[in-house]
């Protein structure tokens, strides 16, 4: 059976910059995006990086950024084609494109579908227009919902959207009302994130200067719990900390991240994680974040890798548990074995502490299947638990 593989494509331009965003991106330049140049660089990097993995099968492609829906559909098509020619796409491969709900981008949906995109993810974030404006987003809540409706028509069962809670001034009641509305329009998948203040972002500076006051930890906890309750009631499974899906419609690409699938990332600042076929070493690498420099490197050297490190077995084992436990299905010995060289979870983890957490209702340990998983309560405080049980 062929080893499954994923491709991540980072498209770095945006028309507006959100104050909370920590991704590597740039505003669309005055004279416009150099579509051909960027695409050409992406293709070069793609060919260099995918070539060693010809023997694998491409399970998913994810276009993120930036705002990938600002790209030209024909460029998207070129990338998908090029990828397929190097590492054949699986018959049920998932090809996701992230989009913003502005009308210009919504208008391109059909063309993206034609280009090969199979799944659409829309950044709604919030239905509160004032919050959207304060965060620097140039669309309304109504436009967000409309975008989802249109996408559902074109990509039935394959539409997802992002929501954020924990904005300044937001009450529990407001959040619950937003969720209720959004759930009416939901398709099969949604991501619900707590607003996180990342260093280097405008929001970070706002908070430090005390220009913004965010909800307390306990209020955020209540909002999180509301999301779990309300989404679950509507038939979504809370399969990962911030992700909900009708069973069977989980994000294949993201599940890959949490379950240790290999992937290559192309585009400025993109990360990769794969086993180098020639050395059999586990590699983690990152591309140059500066768009111009990255493009120059791709043109000159065929790729724009900034740094590359080897992941030790100890690190790989830690990661498998830390990421596995973000999912409600947790991690099994079978999956752990692929990085542990056969060592069982029972021998690796501090089982006495695991048992204590099981007794206290935070974890579930199924010894027959050798599966460790969090309960909903455990998932909510999983970071505290992980520090304790992982060596």
């Amino acid at each position: 059976m062929k080893v499954p593989f994923s491709l991540y494509v980072h498209w770095p331009y945006c028309t507006f910059l959100c104050r909370f965003c920590a991704f590597s991106k740039a505003r669309v330049p005055a004279k416009g995006v150099e579509h051909e140049r960027i695409t050409s660089a992406l293709l070069k990097e793609l060919r260099t990086s995918l070539a060693p993995h010809k023997d694998k099968v491409l399970q998913s492609i994810y276009f993120g950024g930036g705002t990938p829906s600002l790209a030209q559909p024909r460029n998207i098509a070129q990338i998908i084609e090029a990828a397929n020619s190097l590492v054949p796409l699986a018959s049920d491969a998932e090809i996701t494109l992230e989009s913003n709900p502005t009308s210009a981008e919504v208008g391109k949906m059909r063309d993206f579908k034609q280009a090969g995109v199979t799944r659409y993810s829309i950044g709604i974030q919030t239905l509160n227009d004032r919050t959207l404006a304060r965060m620097g987003r140039l669309h309304t809540g109504a436009e967000g919902l409309a975008a989802v409706d249109r996408a559902r028509a074109l990509f039935p069962g394959k539409v997802s959207f992002d929501m954020i809670f924990g904005f300044e001034g937001q009450t529990l009641d407001q959040w619950q009302k937003e969720l209720e509305t959004v759930l009416k329009h939901a398709d099969n998948h949604m991501s619900v994130y707590q607003l996180t203040v990342e260093p280097g972002t405008p929001l970070f500076r706002d908070r430090n200067a005390q220009r913004v006051v965010l909800p307390s930890g306990d209020l955020s906890a209540q909002m999180y719990e509301s999301a779990v309750e309300m989404c679950t009631a509507k038939g979504f499974r809370h399969y990962e900390v911030s992700n909900y899906a009708v069973p069977g419609s989980e994000s294949m690409h993201n599940v890959g991240y949490w379950q240790g699938r290999q992937w290559v990332g192309i585009g400025p600042s993109a990360h990769s994680r794969f086993i180098d076929p020639s050395s059999n070493q586990r590699i983690s690498s990152m591309r140059l974040p500066d768009i111009q420099r990255w493009a120059q490197h791709c043109e000159k050297f065929g790729h724009g890798t900034a740094k590359s490190t080897v992941i030790s077995d100890a690190d790989a084992k830690q990661e498998a548990v830390v990421f596995g436990l973000r999912m409600l299905d947790g991690i099994t010995d079978r999956r752990f074995a692929s990085v542990s060289g056969g060592q069982s979870l029972k021998d690796y983890l501090h089982m006495d502490r695991v048992q204590q957490y099981v007794d206290d209702g935070y974890l579930l340990w199924n010894s027959t299947d050798a599966q460790l998983a969090p309960t909903e309560r455990g998932l909510e405080v999983i970071d505290s638990i992980l520090i304790d049980i992982v060596p």
Partner: protein, 618 residues
């Protein structure tokens, strides 16, 4: 000669040409920051011992910790050659620590001298330690030669300072030298003044060898190095010497002077001060104050010293019990060069195996802790600095309590204890008159009994106050400084024990008493202190997956209660491919942080929790 002299260990200098007449053994005593170390540097430069470059700044302060704090912990000596009036003199500068905690070290080094420079900052004038050190030197029969430093400062008032000296110590103001060690002004006159005003050492070359051991340190290559003042006779390599105290014999392997590094000489003779190595294995064999004589030629012993008494105690425990052996080794190595730290092994129900260390003062303790953490990479918990309390039982027996957890509980108190006693000190404070109100208030706040206050000049007050030692062992000094904007100076001496109404303050976490957080205090402050402690603990204890109830109880009665509410949510919202590396770094960092926490039952306590019970907030 301004070049740095290269020390050739193989080449021995012959200093036998320096009879006592041409020798001066002197020290510099001063209040902190009055410029003692700078002056020492200047003299060493002047005599060519060190070069004039900035790198040699404060050469005598060897330890990194000392340099950081600008204080001298370890006393050293340095020998200099100086030509005066056509004669070549051997000048031995015996360095002394500047802090009241180290008065023991001061007295040891003074016994090796015949005179001392009393250095006073011309801008600050006489301070408490100036006074204390003067009386120490005077008591040893030393010639005290006062000198004014920092006359270059715009705030300097040399005439006023000279008057202060005259009125406090009855020394003729006109004889006082004015200088600036920093700029070099007037420094030329220092050594001539030392030669003229201080007597040469007494003793005879024809008498049998007799030397005073006044300091030691451990060198990993040669073993124990002894600093000695030769009182009679001479000594050279190959001689066999005997310790008067232990009667143990040693063969001398090397003798020399500190120049400023050890420089071998052919011999050391009467009146000279230098180092001797004699294959002594452990510092514990060297008893400071001991007399040494040549084998088969015993002499009358010199008067010894009173060993230093520990004033401040603290419990030291490894955070990780597995680290005990390594910490043991580190503490042994550190105390090798500091015999004034008293060491007792101790076991705590809460913290496992550790030590109760006794220090000369809080600065002494703090320097020790810093060295342990930095030089030996130790992860330690320090529990409340305590003073030794005394319990008198009804059956007539008395017992010293050094660990708060050992303090009798309320039942034992009622049934068996007659009285509880605490040690007192007599403190001397000197400050500008405008702070008198604040200083009086500070003393009364700390259960002090004002003895008297006098004006030592038109603007400065000297205040004497009797205080419980427990009141000055943590942040008293800091408060003194802040309430006087830094102008007040402080010194103290032991003043016996007195009966006192003491209670044991316990900290309970989820209803279990944590021994390591126990403290002893006067009943009058127990309620306020208990409330304060509970509040501050609530701030430093991090939320966990369950509620943590903090209670403080004085003699078994709860005085305050605070809750650290359980952590409801702790999970990273976004974790995708590009976040993996960062997330793992953070996780491992948090794991490291957790290692520095100590678990009591299920509750994790950070180091700060232990520090919290040590200090009182205002």
């Amino acid at each position: 000669m301004n070049k740095l002299r290269v020390i050739d260990r193989k080449k021995e200098t012959d200093i036998s040409t320096y009879p006592p007449d041409l020798i001066r053994n002197f020290s510099i005593i001063a209040h902190i920051d009055h410029g003692k170390s700078t002056l020492a540097d200047r003299l060493l430069e002047l005599t060519g011992v060190i070069s004039k470059t900035g790198k040699n700044k404060q050469v005598l302060d060897k330890l990194k910790v000392e340099r950081e704090r600008g204080i001298t912990v370890k006393a050293q000596s340095a020998s200099m050659f100086y030509e005066y009036n056509g004669q070549k003199y051997l000048m031995n500068l015996i360095d002394t620590p500047g802090h009241v905690d180290f008065s023991y070290e001061v007295s040891r080094s003074l016994a090796a001298c015949q005179g001392t420079i009393l250095l006073v900052d011309a801008a600050q004038g006489i301070q408490a330690q100036t006074v204390a050190n003067f009386y120490l030197a005077f008591g040893e029969g030393l010639a005290v030669v006062p000198m004014l430093n920092k006359v270059d400062l715009p705030t300097a008032e040399p005439e006023r300072a000279a008057q202060q000296i005259e009125s406090t110590f009855e020394i003729d103001a006109s004889k006082i030298l004015h200088m600036s060690a920093k700029t070099g002004l007037g420094v030329d006159a220092v050594l001539p003044s030392v030669i003229e005003n201080m007597p040469p050492p007494s003793g005879s070359i024809d008498q049998p060898f007799k030397a005073l051991l006044f300091d030691t340190w451990y060198d990993k290559y040669v073993g124990v190095v002894c600093l000695m003042a030769i009182k009679d006779g001479s000594i050279r390599k190959g001689d066999r010497i005997v310790s008067n105290h232990s009667k143990q014999k040693y063969e001398v392997t090397e003798v020399g002077i500190m120049h400023p590094e050890p420089s071998p000489t052919t011999s050391l003779q009467v009146g000279q001060v230098g180092y001797i190595t004699c294959n002594m294995k452990s510092v514990s064999e060297a008893h400071v104050g001991d007399t040494f004589y040549r084998d088969k030629h015993p002499v009358e012993a010199l008067p010894g010293f009173v060993p230093a008494k520990s004033m401040v105690f603290a419990g030291v425990f490894p955070i990780d019990a597995d680290e005990f052996a390594r910490l043991d080794e580190s503490i042994q190595k550190l105390t090798l060069n500091d015999s004034s730290v008293s060491v007792h092994k101790e076991t705590s129900a809460a913290l496992g195996q550790g030590w109760r260390l006794g220090f000369l003062g809080t600065l002494h303790m703090d320097v020790f802790r810093q060295r342990l953490e930095e030089e030996y990479d130790a992860s330690i918990l320090i529990t409340a600095p305590t003073v030794p309390y005394q319990i008198k039982y009804r059956d007539g027996t008395t017992r010293f309590i050094r660990t708060p957890a050992d303090f009798p509980d309320v039942h034992t108190m009622q049934d068996n204890v007659e009285s509880t006693m605490e040690p007192f000190v007599l403190a001397t404070m000197i400050f500008p008159e405008r702070y008198l109100g604040q200083m009086l208030e500070l003393c009364t706040l700390h259960r002090g009994e004002i003895q008297n206050h006098v004006y030592i000049d038109e603007a400065r007050v000297l205040l004497k106050c009797r205080l419980p030692m427990a009141e000055i062992v943590s942040d008293f000094f800091d408060k003194l400084k802040s309430k006087s904007q830094g102008f007040a100076s402080f010194d103290y001496e032991e003043a016996g024990y007195e009966a006192s109404d003491l209670v044991k303050m316990e900290v309970l976490l989820n209803n279990e008493a944590v021994d390591a957080l126990a403290s002893v205090m006067h009943r009058s402050s127990s309620v306020v202190a208990g409330r304060d402690m509970a509040k501050r603990l609530r701030e430093v204890i991090r939320r966990q997956l369950f509620d943590i109830i903090i209670q403080t109880a004085a003699n078994g009665k709860v005085v305050a209660r605070e809750t650290v509410k359980q952590l409801r949510k702790n999970v990273t919202a976004k974790c995708y491919g590009g976040d993996i590396t960062r997330k793992m770094k953070l996780l491992n960092k948090q794991k490291e942080g957790k290692k520095r926490m100590k678990k009591f039952g299920k509750v994790e306590l950070p180091q700060e929790a232990f520090l919290t019970v040590m200090t009182k907030s205002e």
